[in-house]
């Protein structure tokens, strides 16, 4: 009790000393050695028993008892395999879901991004106060980039293109389409990446009109260049121009761009640099602080024309730039979703625990007799409690082990579901932290589901328990009903959330597309090529390739557009040229198209005409607007024959077409649904000038569109051949139908729906099991009572109602609680719901109906057993 326990050896020494002292005393009395020894032993009694008595009082015994309890616990679990398997599977699913989601949380929010000292890396945010208040991550324009580079000594700054763009690479005879990113000098220095071969871009190579150089990703170096160490200094044909390879990035190196190949950005303040088209990234220099960096950056960017113009046009507004750690900004958009999923996974675990608490409670009550017997035989309440907790812990640990397996599989499935480069990290590992979390979770669950039964058994009354057989009291049933109601309430929330997301997805997928998506196949190719900088060459390519495609048997029509419905479009500004709002500008989506575009996609021309082959560089510049843009510009007045100013040139509106659905990723309007029908202006591809083509082709890869009346065998190969007739060195990036494009745009929504629906189904399953177990248990426990009632004239139906009521009542209470809870909790979903409100009656009605059906099923299955109860038999059993 005090201090550390004595060792058995120490005690043995003491006994040995005792015997020796006794022998010596006897020898002094005159006995010989042998007699003295014998007498001393006799007087002492049984030495072994003395040692055993000592041993049992020592700490060794608590270990022994622990093992004993553990073995006993295992035996008890093996005796009730149904319960054990059910418990382990329930826990495994609950813990597994949490393990999988936590791995993502861990990889995204807890682990560092895969860069050296990621805590010193930052991105630029802008806070605007005043009427147009905003606070968001910002890109910079060419002038701002120059200011950042020159006037912020605390930071090592770099910029890149926004995302990658498709380009054609010719190495040897083979031309391939790949994703290239453009980065400034020091970009890889900011990321802390050192090439395995060669070097990074120098400042000289990053100057406008500097030498054309490229850095390869490890993957491209392996596949296309056969991991040849002599590639450095070699030239390859990229975008139709010779580029010198100067470096190869290390294996598994990730960059925010994740490109296959990098070229120097060579940013200029004009052209592309007029817009905020550069994505900045910065690393804090060793001796600088974030405060210094923020102050310097704010001062530098405040001098840019963009900020000064804004302040001039918005008196009273203020604008401040500040740095946000890369980790935060890269995961910001995903954070709410990931945390919501974690919450959903937490709900599932709670539901699993509630189920188990109910099951364990019944199990403990069934064992009241056993417990009472043990108490009567002298076991202390502590010993009983310890035994129960050890069994709970055992179950939890077994469940946890299964949970890790389930989590691993679920994570693999989840990662397969995610679009490529969806997460800003390369891998989502099940690392030590995840395993520690799972262990913690396991211990927590054992407490959660073990608490209730443990408290109940503390109140076991010896006398009544040993005698009685019916152990299930009204109090216990109410307790279990409360647990079921709780889990059903959580299930309602999850089902409602999943339902709302499903309805949103359906709304988005069934938006009137404004064109006819069936029978259309599209293919992209990069025209970011030197030979297509000349508009005449560009026009020739379009004419020849489209003519060849129209000749493919079965093809009804062929056309080309810079972007397609469902895709993100170019954003451009147009201005009213006349009328009282003259000079006012509007931002709009813009698509260049060939004359057959509307006909091929079957977009309705509402007024005026579509483009024709007569619209050429030599004729008046014409445009077609969609209905949204017409409304926005002319408020219902006739747009035909009116002029707009586009790129400082007058253009004539010759037609109005129906709105088509397109991706809102261009962020024309903040906070709009991923698919919208926004303002769009169409311009003829044939009237585009060289400067415009150069710019848009560095961002967008135009699509060839082919419509067939019925599926055509080998269509894609024939399309590639048709293109090759016009240009043998132009590869298509791939072929897509409209469903693919829609799926790509709605990938995030689809993933959210899939995950939440999976979680909600799991919750529903567990709740159904909970109700089933409650009712089935009542049937078993009350068999005798039912028998008596039936003997006294009660019908089977009445008995069924009486028992079934318990499950239905619990479930209904849970549904009501859940609806109240949902009304409060689901408001946070407002930002991700489109086309429906949070209080969507059909969704809620479906949720309630689903739960009612599942409850009835889970109740009816077990109470059918009542019909088999024979009153005579039950009574005889006693």
């Amino acid at each position: 009790m005090f201090g550390r326990k004595r060792k058995l050896d120490d005690f043995t020494d003491e006994i040995e000393a005792h015997l020796q002292l006794e022998i010596e005393r006897l020898r002094e009395q005159g006995l010989n050695e042998e007699d003295a020894r014998a007498s001393a032993r006799r007087t002492f009694g049984n030495v072994t028993r003395a040692r055993e008595t000592f041993y049992e009082s020592g700490r060794w015994v608590s270990w022994d008892r622990f093992w004993q309890d553990l073995r006993f616990g295992l035996r008890m679990l093996r005796k009730t395999p149904g319960f054990t398997v059910m418990a382990i599977v329930t826990l495994g699913l609950g813990i597994g879901a949490n393990t999988a989601i936590f791995s993502v949380v861990n990889a995204l929010l807890l682990k560092n991004l895969p860069y050296a000292h990621p805590e010193r890396m930052g991105t630029i945010y802008m806070r605007t106060t005043g009427p147009q208040a905003s606070n968001e991550r910002r890109n910079v324009d060419g002038e701002q980039w120059e200011l950042l580079r020159a006037e912020v000594p605390s930071l090592l700054c770099a910029v890149s293109s926004m995302g990658t763009s498709g380009v054609n690479l010719q190495a040897g005879y083979q031309v391939q389409y790949l994703h290239a990113g453009r980065v400034s000098a020091h970009y890889f220095d900011v990321l802390g990446l050192q090439p395995v071969l060669g070097r990074n871009f120098s400042e000289d190579e990053d100057r406008p009109h500097g030498p054309k150089t490229a850095v390869l990703s490890y993957g491209l170096w392996r596949t296309t260049f056969g991991a040849d160490r002599n590639v450095l200094g070699q030239a390859m044909l990229l975008k139709g121009e010779a580029y010198t390879i100067i470096g190869v990035l290390p294996q598994n190196a990730t960059t925010p761009l994740n490109a296959e190949l990098y070229t120097a950005l060579q940013a200029r303040p004009d052209g592309e640099g007029q817009g905020t088209n550069f994505e900045p990234i910065a690393r804090l220099r060793d001796d600088a602080t974030w405060q210094q960096a923020n102050a310097e950056m704010n001062r530098a960017l405040a001098r840019s024309l963009r900020v000064q113009n804004f302040l001039k046009n918005n008196p009273g507004a203020e604008r401040a730039y500040y740095l946000v750690p890369l980790q935060t900004s890269e995961t910001n958009t995903l954070r709410p979703q990931v945390l919501a999923l974690m919450l959903a996974a937490g709900f599932i675990l709670l539901i699993a625990c509630a189920n188990l608490a109910g099951l364990t409670l019944v199990r403990m009550l069934r064992r009241t007799g056993e417990i009472a017997t043990r108490l009567a035989l002298g076991a202390s309440p502590w010993q009983i409690q310890r035994q129960l907790w050890i069994e709970n812990l055992l179950l939890a640990l077994l469940g946890g082990a299964v949970g890790i397996e389930v989590g691993f599989l679920a994570l693999r499935g989840l990662l397969l579901l995610l679009p490529e480069h969806f997460l800003p990290v390369a891998t989502v590992p099940l690392d030590g932290r995840v395993l520690a979390f799972t262990l913690l979770l396991t211990l927590m669950t054992s407490i959660l589901f073990g608490m209730l039964p443990a408290f109940t058994t503390r109140k076991v009354d010896l006398r009544s328990s040993i005698a009685s057989r019916t152990v299930i009291g009204a109090r216990t049933v109410r307790l279990r009903q409360a647990l079921i109601a709780g889990e059903i309430a959580l299930t309602v929330v999850l089902l409602a959330a999943a339902g709302l997301l499903i309805r949103t997805l359906i709304h988005l997928e069934t938006m009137p597309p404004g064109f006819h998506p069936g029978g259309v196949i599209t293919a992209k190719a990069s025209l970011d090529e030197v030979r297509y900088h000349d508009p005449a060459a560009f026009r020739k390519l379009l004419d020849e390739s489209l003519a060849s495609m129209r000749e493919i048997p079965g093809v009804e029509n062929a056309a080309l557009g810079l972007t397609l419905p469902y895709e993100r479009a170019l954003i451009n500004g147009v201005f009213l040229r006349d009328g009282k709002e003259s000079g006012q500008g509007v931002e709009t989506n813009e698509v260049y198209v060939t004359p057959g575009y509307f006909e091929t996609l079957q977009i309705a021309v509402v007024a005026g005409r579509a483009f024709t082959n007569a619209d050429s560089p030599d004729t008046v510049e014409v445009v077609v607007v969609n209905q949204s843009l017409a409304r926005r510009l002319f408020h219902g007045a006739d747009p035909l024959g009116r002029y707009l100013k586009r790129d400082n040139k007058d253009v004539l509106i010759v037609g109005v077409v129906a709105d088509t659905v397109l991706s809102s990723a261009g962020e024309l309007h903040a906070g709009s649904a991923p698919l919208t029908s926004e303002e769009t202006i169409y311009v003829p591809a044939a009237q585009m000038d060289a400067q415009f083509l150069l710019l848009v082709h560095s961002f967008f890869q135009p699509s060839w569109i082919v419509r067939t009346a019925s599926p055509v065998e080998g269509l894609t190969a024939q399309m590639q051949r048709a293109l090759a007739k016009a240009d043998p060195n132009l590869p298509f990036s791939g072929f897509y139908d409209m469903k693919d494009l829609m799926a790509a745009t709605l990938a995030t929504q689809r993933m959210e729906v899939a995950l939440l629906a999976a979680m909600a189904s799991l919750a529903l399953l567990l709740s159904a099991v909970g109700v089933f177990a409650l009712v089935a248990n009542m049937v078993v426990q009350k068999t005798r009572e039912i028998g008596i009632r039936m003997a006294l004239g009660s019908t089977v139906g009445q008995a069924m109602l009486q028992i079934g009521r318990s499950g239905v009542a619990a479930s209904l209470l849970g549904v009501i609680l859940g609806l109240v809870f949902s009304a409060w909790a689901l408001r946070v979903m407002k930002g991700v719901l489109y086309g429906i409100s949070v209080y969507d009656v059909p969704t809620m009605a479906t949720v309630v109906l689903t739960l009612v059906l599942v409850t009835l099923l889970a109740t009816i299955l077990p109470i059918l057993k009542i019909a088999k109860i024979d009153p005579a038999n039950t009574l005889r059993e006693e």
Binding site: F2, H18, E22, T43
Partner: protein, 118 residues
């Protein structure tokens, strides 16, 4: 269990051994064998103490902090574990002695002359 030699001796009443040990230690630290001998000798060889039975009692007393123990050297230069009375043990001894005296007086009164004769 018992031998010829010890058969005629009195067996200890339950709980009295603790009291005897505490009482023995009042004159200073002693080791196990010393305690056993002292009980036997002071009771003029009347009390039966199986030496081995002493140790669970010693351990119990040590756990309750009524006695403390440490290894030392006996008068004849042998290593032995010496037990000594703690302050708490002293109090306990007073308490138990009073209780015991009242008990034996009461029993003697009930058993009357026979007991006196015995």
């Amino acid at each position: 269990m018992s031998t010829q030699e010890t058969q005629e001796r009195l067996e200890l009443l339950q709980g009295t051994l603790d009291l005897l040990i505490l009482r023995t230690l009042i004159f200073g630290p002693r080791h196990g064998q010393g305690i056993a001998r002292a009980i036997q000798e002071t009771s003029e060889e009347e009390l039966l103490v199986e030496h081995g039975a002493l140790y669970p009692a010693l351990q119990r007393l040590e756990q309750r902090a009524w006695i403390s123990a440490k290894w030392g050297v006996s008068s004849n230069n042998r290593k032995a574990r010496f037990y000594s009375l703690t302050a708490a043990g002293r109090k306990q001894l007073v308490r138990e002695t009073t209780k015991w005296k009242r008990l034996s007086k009461a029993i003697a009164r009930i058993l009357g002359s026979e007991a006196a004769e015995g």
